[in-house]
Symmetry: C2
Subunit: 349 residues, 2 copies
């Protein structure tokens, strides 16, 4: 259904200047996407870690309450920590964790949507207290000429969703934490429906209930309510681990098309699609039975965290559909297809 | 600091007529509290289970998608279920659970605040899909003459917070799910501050971050944003398991006084207090170092789920403070004290 671009991966860590000389870039992935002034813009998640190496020790960077960098040293044989996941060190008793990298957002621009110039400076840096572990996985939604960028705010309090807005990708206004922990992979509809804004979000309940996609409504994009369950994970197969929002919804004649991600119980991340009603975007019309993109290319199967394709944005231009996606939590790639083929795979038309 | 009322427990399951003849009442507890037309009103959580007994089997009542009662039978030796908690059966693989009882809200009235008449019919019954397992733990907040009742909406999707409002405790208007799963123990400030409504809520993140109390703001009580961490649990002692909202905030000259609950790692539930700034209720001024009420009386130590005192509402009248609380997840009790003594325990005045 999709053709991978021959220049993939379009961006890799080697293309990115670190934000500070004692850091190295280990990931340039999971970018939010939009078109602005005839350019494709990416807000790339740039993951960095201390350049220093200490034998038998993992260095975990984060910010203190004043925003100053702290680097914690966790011994790989520390019995208090579960060290098996390369992304994090988990304290066995408290469940608290430290990340092995810290992410921020970096702007990349392209005329052709394939060759990107990535800025040498961050676009949005984490701020304490809610982003002390980093800012991850931006989604960009243009509504009435303003660009809204939501992202995962990761800190000791858990993973919440933050929002900023910009008219021009220069001036940035912070709008606070819009959904409390644990909630990430939020996508905002690019239009008001009946005067209200709509988002899809993915709570991670600490008790039971599964990792599902919910819808919510807002008068102002800051305050959210009328939460409704929209899409539940299937407990077998490619969705057995979790589902979550991917690209912000795209308008089609058949309905709002969302490309989402699903992980199975082995943490293999694929992409699927669902469609909601144009006039009632809290009403689900169709969803993928099988994935529309699975990890197959070498840069998707291998890497920092292999077996991952993960989108944060797609561009529709007529029937042409360009899905930008993070590969293996390391690089950015592009797959091209057609809206009608994706809709047909959902049984629409 | 508190004196238990000599009539405690004020309400027990034996005082409550079941909502249907094939049910028995096993809990009358965790009531929201307010004063209305010179009466103390309680919205009691009434927990019921099927009267039927089947040897070696636990019966789990819930609603189907049409609102019809289903009673699941879980064998106590079913290897798929963890059956050790009397409140729930937990599926070992999926984490999904079934409750051993189903709760609704029942109105009780009293002239003296001690002797209550409890209605023979429910005040608010659960509705699918978000309340298919029941409605629990109401809090009542009167704002500008309208009574807002928030509660835990429990269903297969997890535990969320729902809201209804009533002008008179007869006509009830549902306002939907105001905070998605997992979130409960929400308390709403009884006044607007700078035009905004404020609540305290307790997310239960599925990843990390602890069970802490957050603040949020709303223009209309339906849509909530500007989430900020307010009170973090201490990881030792009486707060080691979790903290969560209790009684909706009470106005005092020193600040908004909240009585909250904390559980330790053995699920012993105590009460504490915190105070926030009158003009900036997202700013914490003081909190309890040690609990202000601990389970001691026989009806608190023993019962359906022993070692629990849990408040959903308190009444301040001058310096007199009446804390209504659920005891052992089974009955309702009353402890009386003074505002000034509680504030003094926090180091205020």
């Amino acid at each position: 259904m999709f053709t991978r671009n021959s220049h993939n991966p379009l961006l890799t860590p080697a293309d990115v200047v670190p934000s500070r000389p004692d850091f190295e870039v280990i990931g340039a992935f999971n970018a939010g996407v939009t078109v602005y002034q005839d350019e494709v813009l990416l807000l790339v998640r740039v993951a960095e870690r201390p350049r220093e190496r200490v034998a038998g020790v993992v260095l975990c960077p984060h910010l203190d309450t004043d925003g100053q960098l702290i680097v914690e040293q966790i011994a790989l044989d520390d019995p208090d920590y579960d060290t098996h996941d390369p992304r994090m060190m988990v304290h066995r008793r408290t469940g608290q964790l430290l990340l092995t990298s810290m992410s921020h957002l970096r702007l990349a621009r392209s005329r052709d949507g394939i060759h990107f110039d990535i800025a040498s400076q961050p676009w949005l840096m984490p701020q304490p207290p809610y982003e002390s572990y980093g800012i991850e996985d931006a989604r960009i939604t243009c509504i009435e000429g303003t660009y809204y960028v939501n992202y995962s705010a990761v800190g000791p309090q858990g993973i919440a969703t933050g929002l900023v807005r910009t008219p021009d990708f220069h001036h940035i206004e912070r709008m606070g934490i819009i959904l409390p922990p644990a909630n990430r992979d939020v996508t905002i509809l690019p239009a008001r429906i009946g005067g209200q804004f709509i988002c899809y979000h993915r709570p991670m309940p600490g008790t039971f209930g599964g990792l599902n996609i919910w819808a919510a409504a807002s008068p102002d994009l800051v305050h959210w309510g009328d939460h409704r369950l929209l899409l539940t994970q299937r407990h077998a197969g490619w969705e057995s681990g979790r589902i979550g929002g991917g690209a912000p919804p795209l308008w089609t004649e058949a309905g709002w098309l969302s490309i989402y991600h699903a992980a199975d119980n082995d943490n293999r991340y694929c992409l699927g699609a669902f469609v909601t009603d144009l006039k009632d975007p809290m009403r689900l019309l169709a969803r993928s039975e099988s994935p529309i993109l699975v990890p197959e290319a070498s840069y998707e199967v291998e890497g920092f965290f292999g077996q991952v394709v993960f989108t944060c944005g797609a561009i529709a231009d007529g029937d042409r559909l360009r899905v930008y996606y993070g590969a293996a939590d390391e690089s950015m790639a592009l797959a091209e297809g057609s809206l009608s083929a994706v809709l047909a795979s959902l049984g629409i038309r």
